[in-house]
């Protein structure tokens, strides 16, 4: 079977009849992402409380995050989002379908690159005594709380991204082998998850890396 001979949409979808709305997968993912908004939103609310109550400690702690690694990682994630959006577009256009697996592999590679950079950053922070524990490097009130939230939010984000890398790799493999289940609808649903992880980072970037840089 060559790349052009299998259908854009899994024929099993077509057989579900008029009762199954075509956007049911998208709707399911959006509902799931709604629960994720509340999950990350709760953490961001904790951050808001800490930042308004201990602004000095949060500012002092924020200056110790590695802004260049954070910025490169932001660019990496934004680029990966553009790549998976392009992969979705190619999967819907028959003459372009040969690009879908390559773009998905590239997306997964960028996600992996983000995780590697994040790992390097974590390593530097552990050596700088910025993990909240006995012997924590900063003495300002609130600085340790900032780093509690920093580690919690970035680690949960990284976990989401790692799951995304696994899922995108699976789809990259499946589209490369023309598996029917890896159709354009499912790639679109997968892309929604990836974009959401990107949106979370878009907010984490100014909150964690860009505090009080001018002083």
């Amino acid at each position: 079977m060559n790349a052009d001979s299998y259908p854009i949409v899994d024929p099993r979808h077509a057989n579900r009849g008029a009762g199954a709305p075509p956007e049911i997968g998208k709707l399911g993912m959006w509902v799931f992402l709604g629960t994720e908004v509340l999950f990350f939103g709760g953490l961001m609310l904790s951050y808001l409380y800490g930042r308004t109550h201990w602004p000095g400690g949060f500012a002092a702690a924020g200056r110790h995050t590695h802004v260049w690694i954070g910025t490169i990682n932001t660019a990496v994630l934004l680029t990966s989002s553009a790549l998976i959006a392009l992969a979705g577009a190619t999967s819907e256009c028959m003459p372009m379908r040969r690009w879908t697996p390559r773009l998905l592999w590239l997306t997964a590679l960028f996600g992996l690159g983000f995780l590697v950079l994040k790992g390097i950053e974590y390593d530097k922070e552990v050596h700088e005594q910025l993990f909240p524990q006995a012997g924590f490097a900063l003495s300002e009130t609130g600085a340790e709380l900032f780093f509690w939230l920093y580690w919690l939010m970035t680690a949960i984000h990284a976990l989401h991204l790692a799951i995304g890398v696994g899922a995108v790799s699976l789809f990259a493999w499946a589209t490369g082998r023309q598996r029917r289940w890896a159709d354009s609808h499912r790639i679109e649903v997968l892309a929604l998850y990836w974009h959401f992880v990107d949106v979370v980072w878009i907010f984490l970037y100014p909150l964690l890396y860009l505090i009080d840089r001018h002083s």
Partner: protein
């Protein structure tokens, strides 16, 4: 999707990607200017614009059915409601922090503590 539609979509994605990177650099640059509370506002406003681009162009929320848009709007509204309700509690609590005490090792018990 035919090739003309694909090219249009590819152009939209490319423009959105360039805009996102430009906004990221704007956000980074603004952080090094002394704007007071404006730093926080600039960071969050730019983040909101960036996420709107991702949601509208990449996630295609504008092209989605009303049902999908309602699900997305309900999630965001629910976050605002819950954040507001939490704020009623947390923002009105008296702020009385206890002095931080370093954890310390207790002296081991020897059984002779009560001896004169």
């Amino acid at each position: 999707m035919n090739e003309a539609d694909f090219r249009r979509r590819r152009r939209r994605i490319a423009i959105a990607w360039i805009a996102l990177l430009a906004l990221m650099l704007t956000s980074l640059g603004s952080a090094y200017l002394s704007l007071g509370i404006g730093n926080v506002i600039a960071g969050l406003v730019i983040a909101t614009i960036k996420s709107s681009i991702v949601v509208i162009v990449f996630m295609g929320l504008g092209r989605s059915s009303a049902m999908v848009r309602i699900a997305a709007a309900a999630a965001l509204s629910m976050w605002f409601v819950l954040a507001g309700l939490s704020g009623v509690d947390y923002a009105t609590r008296p702020h009385e922090p206890a002095r931080y005490q370093s954890p310390r090792q207790l002296q081991p018990l020897t059984g002779k503590e009560n001896e004169p």
